[in-house]
């Protein structure tokens, strides 16, 4: 390796121009005569070039950094891009006034909205909830007559202050109605189409969805035959023919219509809009499609507007049922899965449904 060392030193000396006279001519002669030697020289030369380029770049960079340090960057910045600082200056100067102005504006806007009732989009202002006030004049002879003719009901003969509709959830005495029907009740009774009244107790309420689940606790209550209708899980389409049965008076009344919009009042996704004739007392009535599936529960209609009733979607009834802790129930609440109404005419459907629809009386 000694020769290699000497060779390199020789090449270094050559590249630095330190060779002279015979040494130089010998060296150049050798480069011409020996290609592998020449290759070594070129290789080395390239590497040294690389190295010196590295050196000069490092030097250039450090020189530039020195110059850069000496510059007043902020002054140059102000000259080339003066807008930004001006905006910042303005902001600093006026930010307190801006904040005050913004606050005043905010208070003014929200105050106006509050005073005009924008935030309290309560259904009650624009939607009439359909529970019926039963006045003494309307009080039914019916009940009295039935009391006399049929076996005496355990329920009171007094018709109650308010009334709505409810329908059976299961054959063992669970009934669903609207929360607003039984709201503030001292006691609640349901009356079937035969005029028998039964005392019920409140099992579950869901004011957000306007739903209430009741259970008939009256010893006079006999189990019903299994339910003819089922509850539809999926949403119904607009245009679907529907019908409802309710107690706008002391008798079951059939109403017929169609689903007219997917959402309820003010875009309320919990309900459908239904074009159907309903009156106070229809609240809590089932909304059924042609096949006899319950698709909703009537809960209100829009004031000052014809033909816009609203019904809570049946999926929320199922949700409420699921939300009831089963352990707390005396009897199991099982939702019917078999539909025996499909294909029947409306007359026959009504007949089959009759015993499952109750008038809800509130005292």
């Amino acid at each position: 390796m000694k020769s290699d060392l000497e060779l390199m030193n020789l090449i270094d000396a050559y590249l630095k121009g330190e060779l002279a006279g015979s040494e130089l001519s010998d060296f150049e002669q050798k480069r011409i005569s020996d290609p592998s030697f020449d290759l070594k020289v070129v290789e080395h030369q390239n590497f040294i070039l690389n190295l010196s380029e590295y050196g000069s770049r490092v030097k250039l960079s450090s020189d530039m950094n020195v110059i850069h340090e000496s510059l007043d960057i902020q002054a140059i910045k102000d000259e080339v891009a003066p807008e930004a600082p001006r905006v910042i200056r303005l902001w600093k100067k006026y930010r307190i006034s801006t904040a005050i102005a913004a606050t005043v504006a905010l208070i003014a806007v929200s105050g106006t909205l509050l005073s005009t009732g924008y935030f309290s989009k309560s259904i009650s202002t624009n939607v009439n909830l359909l529970r019926r006030e039963i006045n003494s004049i309307k009080r039914s002879q019916n009940a009295l007559i039935k009391n006399i003719n049929d076996k005496p009901a355990k329920g009171p003969s007094d018709p109650g202050e308010y009334g709505g509709t409810g329908f059976a959830l299961s054959s063992n005495g669970y009934v669903v109605t609207n929360f607003h029907v039984i709201k503030g009740a001292d006691s609640v009774y349901v009356q079937n189409s035969g005029g028998e009244s039964f005392k019920v107790k409140l099992i579950y309420i869901d004011p957000a969805y306007d739903l209430a689940v009741l259970q008939i606790t009256d010893p006079g209550f006999e189990k019903l035959a299994s339910l003819p209708y089922t509850f539809k899980k999926a949403a119904s389409d607009v245009g679907e023919d529907v019908f409802t049965i309710g107690f706008p008076r002391d008798e079951q009344v059939l109403g017929k219509g169609y689903v007219s919009a997917k959402n309820g009042f003010a875009g309320d996704t919990v309900a459908y809009q239904v074009s159907i004739p309903v009156n106070p007392g229809n609240s809590g009535g089932p909304l059924l499609d042609n096949l006899g599936n319950v698709i909703g529960i009537i809960n209100g209609k829009q004031a000052l507007l014809d033909g816009a009733a609203f019904a809570i979607k049946s999926s929320y009834i199922l949700k409420s049922i699921e939300a009831i802790p089963q352990d707390s129930l005396d009897e199991k609440l099982v939702v019917n899965k078999r539909n025996t109404l499909a294909g029947l005419s409306r007359k026959e459907q009504f007949k089959k449904l009759e015993p499952y629809i109750y008038m809800v009386k509130v005292y």
Binding site: L5, M8, N9, D12, K16, F47, I48, N50, L51, S52, E53, Y54, G55, S56, R57, L60, S61, D63, M64, N65, I67, H68, L71, I73, I76, K77, E79, V80, A81, A84
Partner: protein
């Protein structure tokens, strides 16, 4: 909006001559006359002054390499050349940052500089490799190599600086160091 910057830029031929002579004064004048232009470009296109510094210094390195690489032909104004290089470099960085193509707000004419930048990228790679190799080399080899090949100090000086008893020892040391550096450089 497009406010042209007024500056008392030195004549282009003067600068080229200065670069060839490694004149510090030329570098200083070059830097002070053209940096504001680049700062404006970068500031107006989502950058800060540090970005401008990086981009501008890189463009000067490109210019130096181009001038010193021989057969330099000035077929545009130096200002246009520098601006174009900076513009390209900054666009590239912006694209790397946001991964989307975006337009840039211009303040000056531009020329095609793709070839120069390709060469520059190659040189840049070499530079980084050399930097890495030298850093791995360690002392005293690094200093010996730098002194001899970059600062062009004589073997005698190095001998004294490192306290070698004679120049031959120093030469052997330098040879060993160089061999190691080459090995490091080519293996990366």
């Amino acid at each position: 909006m497009k406010k042209e910057l007024k500056s008392s830029a030195p004549a282009d031929s003067e600068i080229v001559l200065g670069i060839l002579n490694d004149s510090k004064e030329t570098l200083s004048r070059l830097y002070t006359s053209y940096f504001p232009m680049v700062l404006q470009l970068v500031l107006k296109n989502n950058g800060n002054e540090d970005d401008a510094k990086d981009v501008f210094q890189e463009s000067i390195i490109v210019l130096y390499n181009k001038v010193k690489g021989g057969n330099f032909e000035l077929n545009s104004k130096l200002k246009t050349f520098l601006y174009s290089v900076c513009r390209r470099l900054w666009l590239k960085r912006l694209n790397e940052q946001s991964k989307t193509r975006r337009n840039i707000q211009d303040f000056s004419d531009i020329i095609a500089v793709e070839d120069d930048l390709e060469k520059h990228e190659e040189k840049d790679r070499q530079f980084e490799m050399m930097e890495l190799a030298l850093n791995q080399l360690g002392e005293p080899c690094k200093t010996i190599i730098e002194d001899y090949y970059i600062q062009n100090r004589s073997m005698q000086e190095i001998c004294e600086k490192f306290g070698y008893t004679n120049a031959d020892n120093a030469k052997t040391q330098k040879y060993k160091c160089l061999q190691r550096l080459k090995k490091l450089f080519f293996q990366t």
